[in-house]
Symmetry: C2
Subunit: 128 residues, 2 copies
DNA sequence: ATATGTGCAAAGCATTTGCGGAGAT
DNA sequence: ATCTCCGCAAATGCTTTGCACATAT
């Protein structure tokens, strides 16, 4: 990722403004509003370049395409077991520093919590 | 997953004995040793059935096929940033009970740590 | 006996790659 | 001017599905 193009700027802006993990298709749809000629290939190539640069992180859930986001400081991913919506939630407590077996060096981490979001909470109309 | 077949038994045994997350292809290769006629379709269908039953969990990393494992109590996933090997590590400390914003109900979680495994530790021959 | 499971081949998607042309520095 | 990037179309790779036969209960 060496040159600054309007496509990449747009992609990055979309990701920053959305504030939640987006699928490549979502990125494309939003990005097209700014750069109508934007193609899916460019989205994928930009994502890959940004991943390599550490500008982006990917989050996955079985059966869904990978979502990407600009890593926010100290937050976790919450995936609703019912509606599959993906949320970014603040990490309220300082998490325990975990000690790994000797030889392993941590460079990053990701915490995914599964459960029910407010819309799908048990007891809600329509919810199980 | 209602009937007990030799294929499913084999798949489950492979996953239990291996003790780390396996790709469908790895499952197939190991499973064939026990049931030579085993096909990839059956592996995928069994995985899906076991996921639905909660017998299995999936773990993903961008650019790699999904890996599956029988959930072990209290452990984390460690993915080496260099060789991409996936390890199951014990969770040494009791993890902090985290409080979610009101309305969110946690039902499960997954912690993935990225970094360097012992073989790829900085300073090792061949490692960066 | 009958519904479920299996394996093959084909289809379905997400993602990557080849290539000629456009754009950034 | 030159090297990188873009977009299209085709290819690739993982995963699912249709169908006829096999098998567990």
């Amino acid at each position: 990722m060496q040159r600054r193009t309007k496509q990449r700027s747009a992609i990055l802006r979309v990701l920053r403004e959305e504030g939640r993990p987006l699928t490549p298709e979502e990125i494309l749809r939003q990005g097209k509003k700014e750069v109508p000629s934007l193609g899916m290939t460019t989205v994928y190539r930009s994502i890959r370049a940004m991943l390599d640069d550490g500008v982006l992180v990917g989050i996955q859930y079985p059966g869904q395409p990978t979502r990407y986001e600009v890593p926010a400081p100290e937050h976790i991913h919450f995936i609703c077991n019912r509606c599959r919506q993906v949320y970014d939630l603040p990490l309220p407590q300082e998490e325990a520093t975990l000690s790994l077996p000797s030889g392993f060096v941590a460079e990053g981490h990701e915490l995914i919590v599964y459960g029910r979001c407010p819309d799908c909470a048990p007891g809600r109309p329509g919810a199980v």
